[in-house]
Amino acid sequence: MPVLSLIRRDVAQAWRAGGAMLPVMFFLLVATLFAFAVGPDAQLLARTGGGVLWMAALLAALLPVDRLIEPDRLNGVLDQLAVRGHSDESVAAAKLVAHWLSFGPTLMLSALPAAALLRIDAGTLVRIEAGLAIGSPALAALGVTVSALTAGLRGAGALGGLLMLPIAVPVLIFGAGALGDGSGSALKLLGAVSLLLVAGAPFAAGAALRAART
């Protein structure tokens, strides 16, 4: 299965370069800094902590955006895949899965110590983890799409942030909204947004890869 070997290669590459740990460290750092900035008011921390974790997750997902596509484009890997007849959409889908595998699960894991830092109670933590499980694929999809759109441009990292953060607003709203919502409807909406982004990303990113090949 060509797509599987591509996913395996990308995940191995992310871990080898240590790049997979970077978003996680960043995520934990933001959580720590927030606790320092607000001070030791346990109630305030607990009330705002969930939202902070979602912000941190969003920013952490943004970190590797300039590395997802550009090295492979520059190095001719994307050309070699295209010559072999692999569609740009399937390449983008493989990149999406690989990107999620290298930051989604570790992000969910590192939410545990972050929640402890921010005095988040167990009930909220469960909702955060559920939200991250549903929402992080959407963040990966956005990351790959933006990465494909900005590949080869100067200042791609900063431009990537400007492009990605506004589109990520629904994920943030429903993800953070699920924290104070016992009915589960915010999680359902988060699922809908996530599904839409994940389903659309391979086509948007694939078209961007095709356009970049000139």
């Binding site: 060509p2 070997s5 591509l6 290669r9 590459q13 080898r16 370069a17 520059l74 190095n75 001719g76 890997v77 050309d79 070699q80 295209a82 010559v83 072999r84 007849g85 090949r213 000139t214």
Partner: protein
């Protein structure tokens, strides 16, 4: 039957006409060498043949899969050469053909060396070994002799001869002489547009 045909093909890059009216017909066991000054569109012609670029006019028909070796090695810099090449061989379903291809380009002793440590010529030989290992009948070689020593050029010529004898096509763009059998020369003249 392996064929590669260009009918009256034109190429426009960045709003400039690089070449037009290029025609070429290659059948099994045949080869062509594209020549021309820098910027005449040799690489673009190969990318059109590979299907990576659209021709601005004319028709390109290729019967048979293509393998491309261009200026980009497309190998993971941190991996040992053997593993980096094996990724592509596995993708092509040709893992068993890889050792022979690496031997053909004299790369066997470099297999454990990380790609980033290789010289330009060694990286070029690796890209050529990937082409040899693929079972694509149409070889597209962009400046294949760049950075190669005379021994490696000899290896490449022998590999091309073997490939052609097996019914393959070779289309190469090069300044330096590459001795191929049954070869046509396709000179790309600079258009007024490109020369200006």
């Amino acid at each position: 039957m392996t064929t590669l045909r260009f009918d009256d093909v034109a190429c426009v890059r960045g709003g400039r006409l690089l070449f037009e009216g290029v025609s070429l017909a290659l059948g099994a066991r045949e080869a062509a060498i594209v020549t021309g000054p820098n910027g005449a569109g040799k690489s673009s012609l190969l990318r059109i043949a590979a299907g990576l670029l659209e021709a601005a006019a004319g028709r390109v028909t290729r019967n048979g899969a293509a393998a491309l070796a261009d200026e980009n090695a497309a190998l993971d810099r941190e991996l040992p050469l053997g593993s980096a090449l094996r990724f592509w061989a596995r993708l092509d379903g040709r893992e068993d053909a890889l050792p022979e291809a690496m031997a053909a380009m004299g790369l066997v002793h470099l297999a454990p060396v990380p790609v980033r440590m290789l010289s330009t010529g060694q990286r070029k030989r690796a890209a050529l070994a990937r082409v040899i290992a693929s079972d694509a009948p149409v070889w597209l070689l962009d400046e294949p002799t760049n950075g190669l020593d005379s021994e490696a050029i000899g290896r490449l010529e022998r590999a091309c001869a073997t490939h052609q004898a097996a019914g393959g096509i070779v289309l190469a763009a090069t300044h330096q002489g590459l001795r191929l059998s049954k070869v046509q020369i396709l000179p790309l003249a600079p258009t007024r547009d490109a020369g200006a």
